[in-house]
């Protein structure tokens, strides 16, 4: 039985037995290479649920504002985000039923669009690991594994770290040689080169805040960008304001970011947002030995201290 059928069975059971009020999952919205989040409350509707490599949203995003009991379809990284949310007292463990999905990586459709050189995809059919895309004047067979999102290529937590029901068997760990390869490459370049790189990528930002909205951990009731007394960050797309916004948004994810890549995928302008968050995750691991969202009752690294924390940067 495939994972999608199993998932539907579990969802039906949960709703019929009234163990949850809603199942949050993915459905096919009809557009090629995409799925959309759906909220299912009626057991008859569970067949809308889908599971495929286009299920790219981090549905933990929808858990924070809920008062009801929700079951949520969650990939490895999504379960880590849920763990962080529980640890930060944003959701109660008993109010969330995690349908854990072992995940072999999701497709970054921007990579497919780039590969097709702007060919307009009208139809996409997934069979096994091959996506057959059709446009007006072309048909192409693409391998899922060639178009995985960047965060999936260096993923070390493909299986749920916490779940109530796991759908399917654990996947073997991915052979990741160096999770931080891209970050290290950039670190080795000169200060000018790095400034140029970030100036270039961040100048594409239009301050739509899609990254913030997609992030399951950006749950502040009032974001610093929305405060105007004091106005911490200018609201213009002036490059200085944009860079300050991204520095501080990334900083706020210190020791919390689970590298699900939702921010980068939601970006309409391909800003390399993960190059900031991943850098911080690397530093947190190096300096404090912490990794976000791996176990319950874990404290965020900036919310406690050790007396012998590194301080060689202090005069």
């Amino acid at each position: 039985m495939d994972l999608q059928t199993k998932l539907r069975q579990e969802a039906r059971k949960l709703l019929e037995e009234k163990l949850v009020d809603v199942v949050i999952g993915y459905e096919d919205e009809g557009a090629p290479l995409r799925t959309t989040p759906c909220f299912i409350t009626d057991p008859q509707d569970v067949d809308r649920l889908v599971w495929n490599p286009f299920c790219d949203h981090n549905l933990a995003r929808y858990l924070t504002a809920r008062k009801d009991k929700a079951a949520v379809v969650a990939k490895g990284c999504d379960t880590r985000a849920i763990v962080v949310l529980i640890n930060e007292n944003q959701i109660e463990r008993k109010n969330v039923n995690i349908l854990g999905m072992p995940c072999g990586g999701i497709v970054d459709r921007k990579k497919i669009y780039n590969h097709l050189k702007n060919g307009d995809v009208r139809e996409a059919v997934l069979k096994d690991k091959v996506i057959t895309v059709k446009g007006l004047e072309f048909t192409a067979d693409l391998m899922v594994d060639d178009f995985l999102a960047d965060c999936c290529l260096s993923c070390r937590h493909r299986n749920p770290v916490l779940c109530d029901v796991q759908i399917g068997e654990n996947l073997p760990p991915l052979d990741v040689k160096d999770e931080y390869k891209k970050i290290k490459q950039l670190e080795e370049s000169t200060s000018e080169e790095r400034w140029e790189y970030f100036r270039k990528t961040l100048s594409k930002c239009i301050r739509c805040y899609a990254c913030r909205e997609a992030c399951p951990l950006c749950y502040c009731q009032q974001c610093f960008t929305d405060q105007n007394f004091p106005a911490w960050v200018g609201k213009t797309t002036d490059i200085s304001d944009t860079i300050v916004f991204h520095i501080m948004r990334a900083f706020h994810t210190t020791g919390r970011c689970v590298d699900c890549g939702a921010c980068e995928r939601s970006c309409p302008n391909n800003v390399d947002i993960r190059m900031l968050t991943k850098k911080i995750a690397k530093d947190v691991k190096e300096l404090f030995g912490d990794e976000a969202g791996l176990q319950l009752e874990e404290k965020a690294p900036l919310s406690f201290y050790n007396e012998d924390d590194p301080q060689d940067f202090i005069k």
């Binding site: 790189y197 860079i243 530093d283 924390d309 940067f313």
Partner: protein, 150 residues
């Protein structure tokens, strides 16, 4: 290093905790220690009170350098504010330098109330480092109209 405009002097903002480093600065003053006049001091209750935004925003508004100074570990008036600050700034400093801010614009130090000499030394060191880097350009926000710092 860029070419420096004539008569340019670095402008450095220093966030000093009121219990140790500010008293240290005071001691440097009453002991008649001569130190570089390039720092503008902002007194804060604790180094743990320094929001990373203070630093980033200072740089954005045209400060050539930033110094944050607090009590030595174990000597915080509030027991542990500086320990939290230390973790926060370790991450922030690395992030700022990674994003391309020149190494040497942002400094941190521990200066106790009895270390007037150390305060003078730190300020001189910071000023010289920043002087070598020249006026801040990256991160500084300029008005789109006349180009002056906003």
């Amino acid at each position: 290093m860029q070419e420096q405009p004539e008569n340019w002097e670095p402008r450095i903002i220093a966030f000093l905790c009121s219990w140790c480093s500010y008293a240290g600065a005071d001691l440097a003053g009453v002991s008649r220690r001569r130190y570089s006049p390039n720092v503008r001091i902002v007194k804060v209750p604790c180094s743990g009170r320094v929001n990373p935004f203070y630093i980033v925003k200072s740089l954005q508004q045209g400060c050539d350098g930033v110094l944050v100074s607090g009590c030595h570990p174990g000597e915080c008036h509030y027991s542990n504010g500086n320990y939290y600050a230390r973790r926060r700034f370790a991450i922030l400093k690395r992030l700022l330098e990674y994003i391309g801010l020149e190494e040497g614009r942002v400094h941190f130090s521990w200066v106790s109330a009895s270390e007037g000499d150390k305060f003078a030394k730190v300020v001189n060191e910071v000023t010289e480092t920043v002087r070598k880097l020249g006026p801040a350009t990256r991160l500084v926000k300029h008005s789109p109209v006349d180009g002056v710092v906003n």
